[in-house]
């Protein structure tokens, strides 16, 4: 090993590890910083907690009382996410919820979302369907899969899953899987591999 200038191989190795550090450490942090700054601007009319991040376009509107919890994530994609809380309405979103692109969240009277919920792309949640207005309650740890629609007046129990494309018109009990149009619920123990029962 000479003590002069580094060899070509050594230089290449140093550059490669430098690029790796940028990719693994710097870029994600920069993206998150941009996401948080964007959310701060987009949700400027909302009461919101710490670390709310928007990684894509969101159309946000608050004419009522809208509260966002801590560490929410709004992902970006081919369609903007839309969050609207109209006059006199209440919209509460719990901590650590995730929203994929194209989600539409509308509150005309009251929409409550618990903590750690996940909303997949193109999910629609609205407490008004043109005929009636009734409050929607989504409890903790609920996962709503792609394209599902939650109709006014439904309550989704804790830890339940709404499967893709379902139209939920009735309450879903806790620990259930809702599927179909109109959605029917079955016990998650019946279909989930981690089931502990029986």
């Amino acid at each position: 090993m000479s003590h002069g200038l580094p060899s070509v191989a050594e230089t290449a190795q140093a550059v490669r590890s430098g690029i790796q550090v940028v990719r693994a450490e710097v870029l994600p942090r920069a993206e998150r910083a941009v996401g948080i700054a964007r959310a701060r601007w987009l949700f400027r009319a909302f009461r919101r907690g710490q670390g709310v991040a928007a990684y894509g376009p969101v159309s946000a509107r608050n004419d009522g009382h809208a509260e966002l919890g801590d560490r929410l994530t709004f992902l970006g994609g081919m369609m903007p996410t839309s969050v609207a809380c109209y006059e006199g309405a209440r919209l509460l979103v719990g901590n650590e919820c995730h929203f994929n692109y194209g989600v539409s969240l509308e509150a005309w009277e009251s929409v409550q979302i618990g903590a750690r919920c996940m909303f997949a792309s193109f999910v629609r949640v609205s407490d008004r369907d043109g005929q009636r207005i009734a409050p929607i309650i989504i409890e903790d740890d609920v996962w709503v899969a792609h394209g599902a629609i939650l109709l006014p007046g439904v309550r989704i129990g804790a830890r339940s899953v709404v499967s893709a494309g379902s139209i939920v018109s009735q309450d879903v009990p806790p620990d259930s899987l809702a599927m179909g149009n109109p959605a029917r619920s079955m016990s998650l123990d019946l279909v989930a591999r981690e089931a502990t029962g029986s």
Binding site: S163, P173, M179, S185, M186, L190, V191, A192, A195, S198
Partner: protein, 82 residues
């Protein structure tokens, strides 16, 4: 055909599974997935003319062939009695 044979034939034809025991768990053996379970429920409702309540869609009633047969028989006798 008895309910057992009807249900077995449906499961074999619909889910392309063969060679499973009457007491094998649909979930644990990976025989039927969640969408399949909804198909099974719809089949039971149309074939045996009974209405299943969402509360009855639990492993105790539907997780193996023998449980489904017992459940269907019980539901049928209940609907006849009423």
């Amino acid at each position: 055909m008895s309910p057992r044979e009807t249900l077995r034939a449906f499961i074999v034809d619909t889910f392309f599974v063969d060679d499973f025991g009457d007491d094998d768990s649909f979930l644990r053996k990976g025989l039927i997935d969640s969408t399949g379970m909804m198909e099974l429920v719809a089949f039971i409702e149309t074939e045996f003319h009974i209405k299943l309540d969402d509360k009855e869609l639990v492993p105790e009633n539907l997780d193996s062939l023998s449980r489904v047969v017992a459940f269907v028989t019980r539901k049928q006798s209940l609907s006849k009695a009423s």
